[in-house]
Symmetry: C2
């Protein structure tokens, strides 16, 4: 292991032109695989968030490196998704976001409107569940044993 570490240092002191990837944990940054595991998201999702301008990891050659600020942004993105905001909305909120703010939605209006949107969705869900339960019950009454529901 000791000779391996030394070999790594040697390689670092003579960085090749096309591959300047820091070794894992060397500068506290994470590879795409590491941040994916850490936050429970797919590699594809991370690349997609970057393509949409939500994340902007550093590049070392072609490889991505996510630092602490990137991790914080990802946490905010995932909070936004949990709260059912679209990525377009998350993008706008991140643009208006300032350090020290630990939650994504920054205005009362955003909260109120999202709450009423989600409450409407919940009512639709409640109706669907109630209708499914009625149908389920009807399957017993219309079946061979008409007294089963009694």
């Amino acid at each position: 292991m000791g000779s391996d570490a030394r070999a790594s240092l040697v390689a670092k002191s003579a960085w090749p032109k096309l591959c300047q990837t820091p070794a894992a944990g060397e500068d506290g940054s994470l590879s795409i695989g590491e941040i994916a595991r850490e936050y429970g998201v797919s590699l594809r999702a991370l690349r997609f968030y970057q393509a949409k301008g939500l994340l902007a990891p550093r590049r070392y050659g072609r490889a991505r490196r996510f630092n602490t600020a990137d991790c914080e942004r990802l946490a905010l993105i995932l909070q936004g998704k949990r709260l059912c905001f679209t990525l377009t909305e998350v993008h706008a909120m991140l643009a208006a976001w300032h350090p020290g703010n630990c939650t994504l939605p920054s205005s009362r209006k955003q909260c109120v409107e999202q709450i009423s949107l989600l409450e409407r969705q919940r009512r639709d869900l409640d109706r669907a569940i109630a209708e499914l339960r009625r149908i389920y019950s009807g399957m017993f009454t219309s079946a061979a044993r008409p007294t089963e529901t009694a």
Copy 2:
């Protein structure tokens, strides 16, 4: 109006080769515009359901005509959507559906599984709403007036 109706009858008795569209209501069938208005769906949605094999209206030339059976199928499709089934699921349920059955899901298993899916979604919605309310409340305590929530 009388002469209009007669003209329509004349036209019917000498149907042109490329346009055999029956006049509105003449055979009880509906044009795409009529069924769209009747059921509150878009023309695009109706064409999409047809492309997916969920509807199969008759053709008179290029125009579509929806008869009573098509209307019944559309009602079932819309019920399936209200119950949050995917169109793929609706397609399979329609294939297994037999006349006299007035609801779409035909097995208890389908009902039970859909109910548990929707209940899971409702729990996620509940959590999101609760989190948004906490954030909203926090905006008052962390703002200029710290006693506002008391």
